[in-house]
Amino acid sequence: MEELILELKKEIIEVLNLDGMTPEEIDENAALFGDGLGLDSIDALELIVLMEKNYGIKLANAAEGRDIFRSVATMAKYVSEHRTK
């Protein structure tokens, strides 16, 4: 799981253009939206694309996303349980 969390952090930094940020600076348990990384709705859409492109996970239910994208840790848990690639 540690490896997957690090991988996700790197991917998030890349696809969301979080310039100058390192994986170490992202707390895997901190909120991705709101007070944490301060991501916005377009970022949320990019994370959905990331899940499908890199892990073969299609998120059809928007309400589901709220729990999955709570933090990097919750994303990693969902990816490890549902990935197809």
Binding site: N17, L18, I42, L45, E46, V49, K53
Partner: protein
């Protein structure tokens, strides 16, 4: 009615010129790396910059230069943003097209898609500087000082408008920008907004 240029910014592939003085010369790759270099050299703290496409970035940077030390809080409804170019949003359009180019790798990027309109740059400038006045974006075949002059001057036909951030903001692999801050005032020490003066600043 005379309109005067309060400040100007020229950005090319190699140089950043503010009010006629060269303030930065490129010593990195051209393109995105150059834009990031300018951002850092100007000491800006605005993380959203890194999410913008190249056109919005270069317009944003030029607006930062012409708005330097300018407080418009009381005047924000009377400020307008007017931009012109020839390449529209082609640079970002190409980037978006790459995300949908093949059936196997069909992953349309929302973050790239939102910049596939040239006038997004006027919105980014207005948000950054709290400008509530009108904004417009025109696409023409090529640069024309006369057209830029007319576009800025037209804004002042509305008696409520007191100032304009406006200019030529073009990005298509090459970076070609002339941004002006113009105001309706009578100040012989400032440069008159004229076709000739715009041409001189664009050189």
């Amino acid at each position: 009615m005379d309109v005067y240029i309060l400040s100007s910014c020229r950005i090319t592939n190699d140089r950043l010129i503010a009010d006629g003085k060269e303030v930065l010369t490129r010593n990195c790759e051209k393109g995105p790396a150059w834009l990031n270099t300018i951002y850092r050299a100007l000491g800006i703290q605005y993380p959203k910059f890194f999410k913008m496409d190249n056109l919005a970035k270069v317009g944003f940077l030029a607006a930062e230069v012409v708005m330097h030390d300018t407080e418009i809080a009381r005047d924000r409804e009377n400020y307008a943003v007017v931009c012109l170019n020839s390449a529209s949003s082609i640079d970002d359009d190409r980037a978006y097209q790459q995300t949908i180019a093949s059936k196997e790798l069909f992953f349309p990027s929302p973050a790239v898609f939102v910049y596939t309109l040239a006038n997004i740059v006027t919105g980014e400038i207005a948000i950054r500087h709290n400008i509530f006045g009108e904004s417009s974006f025109y696409v023409y075949e090529n640069f024309s000082a006369l057209r830029l002059y007319d576009s800025i001057k037209d804004v002042f036909n509305n008696p409520d408008m007191s100032a304009v951030i406006g200019g030529w903001v073009n990005y298509d692999e090459d970076c070609d920008v002339l941004m002006l801050r113009a105001c309706r005032l009578s100040d012989p020490e400032k440069m008159l907004l004229s076709e000739n003066n715009i041409n001189n600043l664009y050189k």
